[in-house]
Amino acid sequence: MQQLANLSDSELNQRLAFEGLDLQVGPYIYKIKTNLPLVGSGISTLYKNFNLAQPEAFIDYNVAILSKGLLQRLRGQSDFLFDNTNPFDSIPTGQAYAFLEWGMNWCVSLHTNEYLKLHAAAVARGDHTIIMPGVPGAGKSTLCAALGLSGWRILSDEHAMIPPNTTEVVPLCRPVSLKNESIGVIKRFSSNAIFGPVSRETHKGVVAHMKADLHPQSHEKKTLKARTMVFPRYAKDETQRLSPRRRTESFILAAYHSFNYSLLCETGFEAMKTLIENVTCYDLVYHDLDWAVNAVDSLADPEPNP
């Protein structure tokens, strides 16, 4: 299958500007259009090793980020388009890359209800798959990025998608969204981190995305069985700990972190029940990233019994 890296710069720009770039992202195909060099550069960097969709493949999400007309260009504004409609207000062009990524998230958050979707990162090493739900600011993406830079496969930074009544996680690897101090933390954590354009003064502050497909199997579509659910929480002044959580409390918290648990009604309840019954749940409170990575490592590599 052809990768984006196989396209020359002019071929990539041609596709982005006219017919659209058809990218295979997990189980979905996005058609992406843009006339913004900044966005093209970000796509070229962060999606370099993503597969291009087969010709004539069904397009799941048709998105664009465009600055249209002289007036909008003079104002430094752009629009995110979904199926040629504009679901959001115009945004500053300097923030366009972050908005493209958020728009691509929005496509999945809003439309994909064949799965129970948790607002969670998911990572895997060997046969050990971990789901990490977290509210914004909990340190989920920072930990996800650090794990990805430490040999774990990033399945998703944003959506843990679980077919109902299974414990399988559908891989949906896309760049990891890092905000504010987390950007520097990850740059210091590893010199191998590759970043796309920096978007400043967004509603979340400074945002940059990290290339996430660092593992040889990053683009495999096969689902992976979840074994552990970890609720990470960055807390500067608390004692670091990895401690077991009750399943029932984890159920409620995971439901809170779900995009569509309530929408799925009884299907959602049964799906969550199946998931929670079959994973071990932990709280992870951390402020030192190396410590947190080691703690997660220990879940996949428990020490042998003496």
Binding site: R246, R247, T248, I252, S262, E266, F269, K273, E277
Partner: protein, 89 residues
């Protein structure tokens, strides 16, 4: 006064001190104490008085728990009404 269950919900009981209850009528999911969940499970189609519930529940619990459960049942029933799981008749 009698109490009636609003709908037949689903439980997730992991043998912990709390139980997850899903109410299909409201779509709400609640984390109940194991005793509150046990109370909800006592309801069938027919409404029950507090006394009927006590008579139903007490033979199934340990002798030492009876005073505490007897005292706490009215409050639990009120809480379940607040959560819209039960209603008064």
């Amino acid at each position: 006064m009698k109490w009636r269950k609003n709908s037949s919900g689903s439980f997730y009981d992991a043998n912990e001190s709390s139980v997850v209850y899903f109410d299909p009528r409201s779509g709400d999911t609640h984390l109940l104490s194991d005793f509150a969940a046990y109370v909800v499970q006592q309801f069938g189609e027919q409404p029950r008085t507090t006394e009927q519930l006590l008579n139903q529940i007490l033979p199934t619990v340990e002798q030492g728990d009876i005073p505490h459960l007897t005292d706490s049942l009215p409050g639990v029933l009120e809480d379940l009404v607040t959560l819209d799981i039960l209603k008064r008749e």
